[in-house]
Symmetry: C2
Subunit: 408 residues, 2 copies
C-alpha cells in the first residue's frame, strides 16, 4: 500500500520537476505529513523522483475520478449532472478568483486540469506548442497535488485563467470526499492514472464535434466556417497524439456519433451515443439492457410507445475495446417526452439507482442541460449513479476493514 515506485515524466518539458508557482502554504500543507520529507529530500537532489500510490492509509483517502475530453465537449454539463446525483449543486469557490475553473459541492470538488498548464498562452505561442501538447502541462505538479488530495492533504492549486490566458495565483483546494479531475490529460501520465479510482473518456466523433463547433462558434460567436475548419484541423495532430489514446485506459467511454436513423445526417442534432463499460473494474458493474451478456437491439417505439420521427433505437452487447472486454449500451435518437424515458429506464438494469425512476428524475431535474433528451444526458446520468455507487462501495469496504489491516 505504501510502496513507492520511481516514475519518469513522459513527454514533458518539465523533466526536472520544476513546479510552477508553488506557494508557501502549498508546501506548508505538504509538510504536515512526515513521509513527504522523503519526497522533498529527493527533490533537492534535482532528480525527477515522484512517489506515487497511496501515502495515507486507504481508510481516509479521497475517491478520485478522471474525466478526459477535448474542450467544448460537454465536460461541465457532465460535472453538473454528477454533482447533482450526490444531492448538491456545484459552485465556484466562494470569495476566490472569479475566473477559477473549480467547482465545489458538498461531496465533490471538480478541478480543471488546464490549471496545470506549465506554459501560458504566450508561452505556448513562443514555443509553438498547443495546450494539448504534454510539454505545455506540468504533470509532476498534477501528480503531486492529486496524490496529496487523495491522501486528504489540502493543496494550493494554480489557476489557468481562460480569459487572460495567464497563470493566476493559486487557490486553496481542500480534500473533498470525491475529487474529479477533468480536462485534456487525466489519464495521460501513468502516475496520475494510477491515482484514479475510476476514469471516463468523452469521445465526440469528428463529425459531431464539427457540427457542434459550427453551431457555437458560427451561430453564437460569428466565426467563419473556414476559420472553424482551420482551428479543428490545427488541433487534430496533437489531439490524436496525446488526447485520443487515453480512451484505452478509461473504465467508461461515452462515444458520441452521428445518428444512423437518418441516412447521411450531418446536422449533429440527432445523436447515436454509446456507453462503453469496461468489464472487471472493481466496484463497477456495467448497466445492461434486458439480458446481461447477450446481444440485443431494441426499438422501443412501436405499439405501446409512439415516438415522432426518427424515433429511437437501442443496442446492448459485449465487445472488445482496445483489447479489453467491454459491455456497450447504445442509444440512437432522442426522447420526445417523459413517458419514453421512464419506459427506457425500466428496461435497463444495473443502473445503481436508489429508487425506481431515479434516472428519469435526474434527467427531468436538469431538462434544460444540453443532451437531456438523448443518450449523452442518459449515459452521463447513469455514470453519475455508477460513481455514487462506486464511492459508497469503497466507503463500505473501508468500514468493514480494520485500520490496522489496511496498513499491514
Amino acid at each position: 500500500m505504501a510502496a513507492c515506485t520511481v516514475y519518469t515524466t513522459t513527454k514533458s518539458l518539465n523533466t526536472k520537476c520544476s513546479i510552477s508557482s508553488p506557494s508557501k502554504s502549498h508546501w506548508g500543507y505538504f509538510a504536515q505529513k512526515q513521509r513527504l520529507v522523503i519526497f522533498r529530500t529527493r527533490r533537492r537532489s534535482s532528480l525527477c523522483v515522484i512517489t506515487c500510490g497511496a501515502v495515507a492509509g486507504d481508510h481516509d483517502q479521497t475517491v478520485v475520478i478522471g474525466l478526459a475530453a477535448d474542450s467544448g465537449c460537454g465536460k461541465s454539463t457532465f460535472m453538473r449532472r454528477l454533482t447533482s446525483v450526490f444531492g448538491g449543486a456545484a459552485e465556484p469557490p466562494k470569495g476566490g478568483n472569479p475566473d477559477s475553473n473549480t467547482l465545489i459541492s458538498d461531496t465533490t470538488t471538480v478541478i480543471c486540469l488546464d490549471d496545470y498548464h506549465s506554459l501560458d498562452r504566450n508561452g505556448r505561442k513562443e514555443k509553438g506548442v498547443t495546450a494539448l501538447d504534454p510539454r505545455a502541462n506540468n504533470f509532476d505538479l498534477m501528480c503531486e497535488q492529486v496524490r496529496a488530495l487523495k491522501d486528504r492533504i489540502a493543496v494550493e492549486k494554480p489557476i489557468y485563467n481562460h480569459v487572460t490566458g495567464l497563470l493566476d495565483p493559486p487557490e486553496l483546494i481542500k480534500p473533498p470526499k470525491i475529487l474529479v479531475i477533468e480536462g485534456l490529460h487525466p489519464m495521460f501520465d501513468p502516475r496520475v492514472r494510477e491515482l484514479l479510482d475510476f476514469s471516463i473518456y468523452l469521445d465526440i466523433s469528428n463529425e459531431v464535434k464539427f457540427a457542434w463547433k459550427i453551431q457555437r462558434d458560427m451561430a453564437e460567436r460569428g466565426h467563419s466556417l473556414e476559420s472553424i475548419k482551420a482551428s479543428i484541423e490545427a488541433r487534430k495532430p496533437d489531439f490524436e497524439a496525446f488526447i485520443d489514446p487515453q480512451k484505452q485506459y478509461a473504465d467508461a467511454v461515452i462515444e458520441v456519433l452521428p445518428t444512423q436513423l437518418i441516412p447521411d445526417d450531418n446536422e449533429g442534432k440527432i445523436l447515436r451515443v454509446r456507453l462503453i463499460q469496461k468489464e472487471g473494474v472493481k466496484h463497477f458493474s456495467p448497466a445492461y439492457l434486458f439480458d446481461e451478456g447477450s446481444t440485443i437491439s431494441w426499438i422501443p417505439c412501436g405499439r405501446k410507445l409512439t415516438c415522432s420521427y426518427p424515433g429511437s433505437k437501442f443496442f446492448y452487447g459485449p465487445e472488445t475495446y482496445y483489447g479489453h472486454e467491454v459491455s456497450v449500451v447504445e442509444m440512437d435518437g432522442q426522447f420526445d417526452k417523459l413517458d419514453e424515458l421512464i419506459y427506457v429506464e425500466s428496461h435497463l438494469s444495473n443502473l445503481s439507482t436508489k429508487f425506481y425512476g431515479e434516472v428519469t428524475q435526474q434527467m427531468l431535474q436538469h431538462a434544460d442541460f444540453p443532451g437531456s433528451n438523448n443518450g449523452t444526458g442518459l449515459f452521463q446520468t447513469i455514470i453519475g449513479l455508477k460513481i455514487r455507487d462506486l464511492y459508497e462501495q469503497i466507503i463500505a469496504s473501508r468500514a468493514r476493514t480494520p485500520v490496522g489491516a489496511a496498513q499491514a
Copy 2:
C-alpha cells in the same frame, strides 16, 4: 347465434352438394337434432343451400382448430405436440380401419381433410386434377361434418386411403372437446373457415421444402433428384392457386425459411422460423420477447450462454401481414442443449404456460420429434399452449354465461 347465411361453394365440382358415401348412421346422428330438419328440407330442393354458423347453443360446442399445410410439412408432428400439451397421447381409432388418418386423444380428435377427397387417385388421374385442386375435394360434406361435430353430433366420415388411393368406407367420429381439422384446405371454403375457433398455417418456404423432400424421397425412398424436382414443379401451380392463399386467413402462421446465420446456406438443416401471430383474435394473446409492442433482435449466445456455431438469433416485432396487424417472434439457428432452451423460454412472455419451464419440459418430452432443437418445435409447442389457453378461455366464458343468455 342461430342466424343462417347462404353460401355458394367456391371452385368446387360439387356445386349440387352431392355428399360422398353418407352412411345411414351418419344421417341418423344428424336427425338427433331437430333443427337440422331445415337443412335436410333445403337439401331436398336440390339447391346448394348450406346452413352455417352454430346450430347448437355455444355452451356445448366443440372447439374447432384448423391447421393448413402442404403434405410432408410436419403436420403430424405438430399434432402430436398439440395433443401432448393436453396431457394425452394421440392414437388411431381403436378397432377401425388400419389406414384411418384420424388421431384421437382424451380431449382432441384430429381429422385429416384428405378424407374429403371427392375424387380418388384414379378419378383425379382421369379428370387431370391434383389433390390440391378444390374440384377433387368435397367441401359441402366437409362443412356439414365439421359443423355437426362442432355442434356435438357424431358423424360418419369417409376415409381416403393413402395406401390404395381409394375412398374406404366411413368411420364414426364422435364429437371431441377439441376438433383439429388438418390438411390442404381447412381455410379454403368460407363456410368451413367460419367454423374455426383458431387457424394455423404451416408455411414452409420452397427452399426448405426442397431440401426436406430431397432428404426424405432421395435418401430414404431412393427417388432421383430429377423426379423430386419434377414432382415439386408439378404441384406448384395448384399450390399457389389454392393452398398458399389460405395463410391470409390464419390466426397464426409458422413460417420456415433457410437460416440467415450461414451465408448462402441451402442444406435446410439450420432453419429460420417465424411465428406470425394475428392481433385482435378473441382468446388469443400473442407471445412476445422482452418488451411487448416494440422491435427487438436478440442473440442470447454471449457471455452467459456459449453456443456452438452458428448460434441462434431471435427477433420480435410488430409487422403487417396481408393487411392484418401481427406480432412476429422469430428464431434463427438451433439449440445445443437444455440450458439454452430454458434460457430462451425465460425471456419470452405470454406463453400461456401453467408453470415455469413448461415449454422446455414439452420440448424435452418429445426430444426425438423433428424440430425439437429449433424454432419449428418451439413455436409448435407455443401454439399448442395457446390452443389449450384458448380452449380454457372459451370453456370459462361459457361457464360464466347462463344458457338462456347464449341462445337469446
